[in-house]
């Protein structure tokens, strides 16, 4: 017989097997999830969850699909958090800190409490990437925030009302588009294709009998 633990879903007590994740425990308890369930694999940030273990003062945050239940765990899911997402035209924005001042001025009201970092479900140094964004160091902000799944827990804990994941999203797009080095071989290849350089080769492949295609495939040279 599997060992059961007591958990409290929105305050109500359920007995569930100890090997379950919070998400599968909710399903075991009978919840047919619509909200708060996405990729079930730690990538999409749909299942942000806040919990406290009875007797522990600290509130913890996690992704429900990535976290095992514990005995006496009080659980509240956070399937949606009203982040602020500012619109902008990626083709027409300043590539320096003034874009942050325009779109997300609240990041300059950060009081350095570090609650965002402490609550990050991905273990990222959130306060640090906001500091990079403040200075317009988008490359570092992008690198530091890269593993963000935009679950929004950081923002739920922020006294300054910062929407950290959206700030980082903007920084990554600026970095990817404007600051990362351009790619010569990619641009060359696009031009070659536009120029029709591969047209004949492709047309030949379109016509080739399957037997000849098999021969071509089975004897092709494979780069080491």
């Amino acid at each position: 017989m599997e060992k059961l633990v007591s958990i409290f879903l929105f305050g109500k007590k359920y007995e569930v097997p100890e090997n379950l994740t919070i998400m599968t425990a909710m399903e075991y308890a009978g919840y047919q999830l619509v909200r708060g369930c996405g990729c079930r694999n730690g990538f999409c940030g749909a299942c942000a969850t806040i919990y406290r273990i009875k007797g522990d003062k600290e509130l913890k945050a996690c992704l429900a699909c990535q976290t095992k239940v514990e005995d006496n765990m009080y659980i509240a899911t956070l399937p949606f958090f009203p982040l602020v997402k500012e619109g902008y035209d990626i083709e027409n924005i300043p590539v320096n800190e003034s874009v942050m001042m325009q779109l997300y001025p609240e990041i300059y009201a950060c009081i350095g409490c570090n609650a965002c970092t402490k609550s990050c479900t991905q273990g990222l140094n959130v306060m640090q990437y906001i500091a990079y964004a403040q200075r317009g160091d988008f490359e570092k902000c992008a690198e530091e925030s890269f593993d963000c799944v935009m679950c929004g827990v950081c923002s739920s804990r922020c006294p300054a009302g910062i929407s950290h994941p959206q700030v980082a999203m903007l920084a990554r797009r600026i970095n990817g588009k404007y600051l990362a080095p351009g790619c010569g071989h990619l641009e060359d290849r696009v031009k070659e294709i536009e120029n029709g350089d591969f047209k004949e080769l492709i047309e030949a492949l379109m016509q080739k009998p399957v037997e000849e295609m098999k021969e071509l495939y089975n004897t092709r040279e494979i780069e080491k």
């Binding site: 090997n19 379950l20 399903e27 075991y28 308890a29 009978g30 919840y31 047919q32 999830l33 619509v34 369930c37 996405g38 990729c39 079930r40 694999n41 730690g42 990538f43 999409c44 749909a46 990535q66 976290t67 095992k68 997402k85 902008y88 990626i90 273990g123 890269f146 593993d147 935009m150 999203m169 797009r173 970095n175 990817g176 588009k177 990362a180 080095p181 351009g182 790619c183 010569g184 071989h185 990619l186 641009e187 290849r189 696009v190 294709i193 591969f198 080769l201 492709i202 492949l205 379109m206 399957v210 295609m213 098999k214 071509l216 495939y217 089975n218 092709r220 040279e221 494979i222 780069e223």
Partner: protein
């Protein structure tokens, strides 16, 4: 940390590691692959398939679970809603808010069409978000679209529709450039050269990546762009039937609010199905690497309206799903782990195959190792083989794992396994729907006018097996193309009187064929609540 039960086998893996790193296992011959697939690949298990009794593909075999939902009752009757006063009217209606749907929306919007997205959960809740390893494009000097074509055509068993495949490979570099210009952060050298690797079955290193968050990075960027453009997104709303007009052309969809169950009507000049895959159908009882909403909805919508399917009998089982611990059973372990050096090793510490065979071959090989050959590791929840991740650090140097596959490290670290030091256990997991709705090179279905399809819901781009990195590519290439073409087509469309008479007609076919079922479809979500 692995328990005592695993230690003996781990010791064998560790003892052989140095030797296994240098070993270059032979690739299988065409004949060896054929025999292996026929004996061990799930697609060849005849008793897991049913013959369709009705619809455009009547007489063809599809997985039993798919046959059931394709031949199930509609969730509504033609009188459930009034088509007179639609709740939404638009030029282009996009069903699905994943990679293909958002790419289509951006291009349709760029073409100045009125466009809206309806999506069952949130925008970005899609398999795209979970694609880890990368996206192919032949943009290196030693590569060409023609070489890419041969790799994909052969890997897909020479069954791809060539006009679709040529579009895929020829539009690939431009797709990467488009993403780059939107701000997607591809892994690059200091001089801008793309960092590219092999995938299973590639003959050139053309896998572009954004660490092992490649799909997530693409998806969040596309989502951000859709929001910047103020494209209407109706989320937590699924399409449950297509609407046709009196001429038999696609002209909208009946929608259902996933929370309140309210029914709504969307009228459109063109419709794009971008509903994704089917992993949550759990064909043959397999676990899946797919998103919660991957239930083949688009195939059901299309089929009931009369659209043809192509290769719906072929599924992709990703060779390396997590086999342990049980909390992540079936979760994707990216092929990139093998691209950057890890090999597959059996319980005795033996490398039993070349790590970069195509996915169908690799999956069948692992199943053979765990069944007939008895060389699997008992996980307590089935069998698995080792994927020797510490090899990566030995080959690429310390820090390679954190730099190239941080998500994989994170996934296992949560359960006390450090993949830099310990190998991981893997077994095939249901990953990709190779087949889907039959389209032409303009992304329009071959037999319903104004109905476009893009992404995983399409059949025929990859043939009967898909190479790693060609799916992220196809959602961008065909998503964009569907968006552009649907927007252009919408300019000339005059929608006739709306009708749901095809539902009634299909219902009659069910009865006439003697099919007895109480199932309704599309399924929309799996039911994982405990059955007492």
């Amino acid at each position: 940390m692995y328990s005592e039960n695993f230690q003996k086998s781990i010791a064998a893996v560790e003892a052989a590691r140095e030797k296994n790193i240098t070993l270059e296992p032979e690739r299988m011959t065409a004949k060896q692959k054929e025999d292996l697939l026929a004996s061990f690949h799930p697609d060849y298990k005849q008793d897991e398939f049913d013959v369709l009794k009705i619809g455009p593909n009547k007489g063809e075999k599809v997985p039993t679970e798919l046959a059931e939902i394709l031949q199930a009752h509609s969730r509504i009757t033609k009188d459930s809603v009034s088509l007179e006063n639609p709740d939404y009217e638009t030029d282009v209606l996009i069903i699905g808010g994943g990679g293909a749907g958002t790419a289509a929306a951006i291009e349709a919007h760029e073409a100045r069409a009125d466009v809206m997205i309806v999506t069952k959960l949130r925008m970005g809740d899609a398999n795209t978000m979970m694609a880890e390893g990368g996206i192919q494009a032949a943009d290196k000097p030693n590569d060409s679209p023609a070489i890419h074509f041969v790799d994909a055509f052969g890997g897909g068993h020479f069954a791809a529709k060539r006009e679709l495949l040529s579009k895929l490979v020829c539009d690939a570099p431009e797709a990467i450039l488009w993403l780059s210009n939107l701000g997607v952060e591809f892994d690059k050298e200091a001089d801008g050269t793309m960092v590219t690797t092999h995938g299973g079955g590639t003959s050139r290193k053309r896998m572009h990546a954004a660490k092992d968050y490649s799909g997530a990075e693409i998806m969040r960027t596309l989502r951000d762009e859709v929001l910047n453009r103020n494209i209407p997104v109706v989320d937590f709303t699924s399409a449950i039937e297509l609407i046709l007009d009196e001429n038999g052309n696609a002209a909208g969809a009946v929608l259902m609010n996933m929370e309140t169950k309210e029914l709504l009507v969307a009228k459109a000049k063109t419709v794009i199905i971008a509903t994704g895959g089917a992993g949550r159908m759990h064909y043959q009882g397999f676990p899946t690497s797919n998103h919660y909403g991957a239930t083949a909805d688009g195939l059901v919508l299309g089929y009931r309206a009369g659209a043809k399917l192509l290769y719906a009998e072929t599924l992709q089982y990703h060779p390396t799903g997590a086999a342990y611990p049980e909390q992540i059973f079936g979760a994707l372990v990216t092929e990139k782990v093998r691209s950057i050096g890890a090999k597959l090793v059996n319980a005795k510490g033996e490398v039993f195959m070349h790590p970069l065979e195509t996915r169908d071959v690799a999956a069948a090989s692992i199943i053979r190792e765990c069944s007939e050959r008895g060389n699997g590791v008992d996980t307590g929840n089935g069998k698995g083989v080792w994927l020797d991740t510490p090899m990566i650090e030995k080959i690429g140097g310390e820090g390679t794992i954190m730099r190239r596959i941080p998500a994989m490290w994170r996934m296992f670290e949560k359960y006390g396994i450090d993949i830099r030091k310990e190998p991981i256990l893997v077994y095939p997991t249901l990953h990709y729907q190779n087949g889907g709705l039959d389209i032409d090179a303009n992304c329009m279905t071959t037999n319903i006018e104004n109905l476009f399809v893009a992404g995983e819901a399409v059949g025929g781009i990859h043939g009967k097996n898909r190479l790693m990195g060609n799916s992220l590519l196809d959602i961008i290439v065909f998503g964009r193309s569907a968006g552009k073409n649907a927007a252009a087509k919408a300019k000339d469309v005059k929608v006739g009187k709306l009708t749901l008479s095809h539902i009634e007609k299909f219902e009659k076919e069910i009865v006439d064929a003697g099919i007895v079922t109480d199932m309704t479809s599309p399924k929309l979500l799996p039911d994982y609540t405990r059955q007492k």
